[in-house]
């Protein structure tokens, strides 16, 4: 088996699959941190509408940087990102806010405001659509509050609305994170290791919610995961990163022993998470 590694003799260049009218197009994305670390080099791929794209790779392979470059939480050093045809990398501050509010994000550490209530945390998902001065009065319109309760209902914890976020278990906190992303009515959800801080049972529960959003609501998902078994179970397509470069882009079924070792190194053993 030959890997799609750039410069590898006989293989085509590591270009991701290009599709017509993608939700997200990443072109020659490069990120070099101020300390000289090259986190991403020349990464290009497309994400078609309705895909559940799983990004895998070792710690430090650039998964988190890639996720954060897409909505410019991290400024890319080079390349271009197009979200529904709009250039994210060239967007002004106001344009960027409009782009960001259509991209929901779910984090490994949940990133909830711990001292605030669950409801407030969910409502913050709507800030991109709310006039900024309303923040001074902590005011949200009644339909937005109704929607927040509906989304909490959807992730199964409506009774926790007035509980402080840090009083919840990890799995519940991540469900609040998903409800917050849902408030944005997103076209795309970026999930950065959403289950890495959870135990296996919780992992499936959280991933099933994301899968449901993908299948029922047609929200495109880009999700980074550690476990290949989870990637195979939930992904419709897998993108593997190694040292900031794409080393595999294809169907979950196509990852065999050789490819696995190429992604994770020769010493790696595949472990199942059930």
């Amino acid at each position: 088996m030959c890997l799609n590694r750039p410069g590898a003799a006989g293989g085509p260049p590591a270009e991701g699959v290009l599709v017509a009218d993608p939700v997200l197009r990443v072109e020659h994305l490069t990120k070099v941190y101020p300390d000289g670390t090259r986190a991403l080099s020349d990464v290009s791929f497309d994400v078609a509408r309705g895909e559940f794209l799983v990004v895998i790779g070792l710690s430090g392979s650039g998964k988190s940087t890639l996720m954060r470059c897409i909505n410019r939480l991290i400024e890319p050093s080079g390349g271009r990102i197009l979200f529904q045809g709009r250039d994210v990398t060239a967007a002004s501050r106001d344009q960027l806010r409009e782009i960001r509010r259509e991209i929901g994000m779910v984090f490994q550490q949940f990133n909830l405001v711990r001292r605030a209530s669950v409801l407030t945390n969910v409502l913050t998902g709507r800030l991109g659509y709310t006039p900024p001065p309303w923040a001074l009065a902590n005011y949200f319109a009644a339909p937005v509050v109704d929607r927040a309760f509906a989304n909490l209902e959807r992730v199964g914890i409506p009774e926790k609305a007035y509980t402080r976020a840090d009083a919840l278990s990890g799995g519940q906190q991540q469900r609040v994170g998903i409800a917050r992303a849902l408030m944005q009515e997103p076209q795309l959800i970026l999930a950065d290791e959403p289950v890495a801080s959870l135990d296996p049972a919780m992992s499936h529960s959280v991933l099933r919610y994301i899968e449901e959003l993908n299948q029922k609501d047609g929200i495109t998902v880009v999700c980074s995961l550690h476990f290949l078994s989870l990637a195979r179970r939930y992904g419709t397509r897998i993108l593997a990163l190694k040292a900031g470069q794409i080393v595999f882009d294809g169907l979950p079924a196509d990852i065999d022993e050789t490819r696995f070792k190429a992604i994770y190194g020769d010493d790696a053993l595949e472990v199942e998470i059930t």
């Binding site: 960001r100 990133n111 405001v113 001292r115 001074l136």
Partner: protein
Amino acid sequence: MGPVGGAGASGGVSVSERIRAERRFRPWFRSWRFYIMAAVTLAVYVYGWQVTQIKLPELWRGAHLIAPLVTALGSPDVAVRDNPVQQAAAPFDYGGETPPPSAPASGPAVRLSQSTGHAGQRVTATGQGFAPNRRGMLEWENQIGSRQELVPVATDGQGRFAATFDTPDVMGTRNTVFADIVSGVGPLRLSATFFVVLDRMVETVFLALMGTTMGVVFAVPLSFLGAKNLTAHIPGGRVVYGLTRTFFNVSRSIEALVLAIIFTIWVGLGPFAGVLALGVHSIASLGKLYSEAIESIEGGPIEAISATGASTLQILRYGVVPQIVPQFLAFTIYRWDINVRFSTVIGFVGGGGIGFILLQYINLLQWRQAATALWMIAIVVAALDYASAVARERLV
């Protein structure tokens, strides 16, 4: 290299043997460093003892001077009784003229063995018609109404008493001898001293409140400029950060008491000078604590709220403020607590508050009044200390 820790695996010494050999263990009494350190320490304390003029015998020699204050602590001037008093009077003239005889036939009356004479004579006073078995006092009032105590008296079972006294050397000729017998037990009421002290304590607490408020009003905006994580992203942020932190450190190093002296020159004696002194000192201390609270906030929630498309104002409101408000409140309550304690002494330099009258009472040797002020300070400060501890525990 071979495997580590395999002692004797290849004839060499083990790692632990090598490390132990490198660091030689020597008992402390064999080390010359110990004797040098001991000599230096001894010299420092001998000099310190001399320079601070520590004279332990003074504690015994001066004990009688502090004793009145210590005993007064057991009987502070807090409550007094309005006891009913039976009074009778008899004239005594210096200079020979015979005064008109005293009239009352019934009720309490006092008679003197003589009603004219000169200073230094022994006179016997007899009383009758008073309440039986009570105590009282014979008093001498001179021509201009100034009174002095002569001797204590006590009535017998028939309400009579007899006492002798020496006529005092006073100005004027027409004098009156009064017999005041406390005839009953009146209701307790709070003393005038208590209300004076309470009034000043209220002033003290509000002095601290206003000073703390002044500190908060200026420290909150300044603390954002003194937080490294926030200033790092703005142009010239390093300079702003450096200037703010320098201001905090310099103004914190000036004691509030020194500031109070400076402000009494500026705005005159009184609580306003105290408010300014505590305020300026609080700006610096609170500013530093607030800045550190801001520096310790988590980046995660801010990242998450930025990702929803929130504006800077919204990020501050929902990402930053919830993380810092509880800590800010806790620090503010703590500062107010410190300021109440401090404002009790700020009166010593004329900055208003209870310290001002405490100093007065001590200078006038009014120990019971001073004791009232000391108790008031102790109780109010301890109560606020406790309340602030409870409040802070709930917040953080």
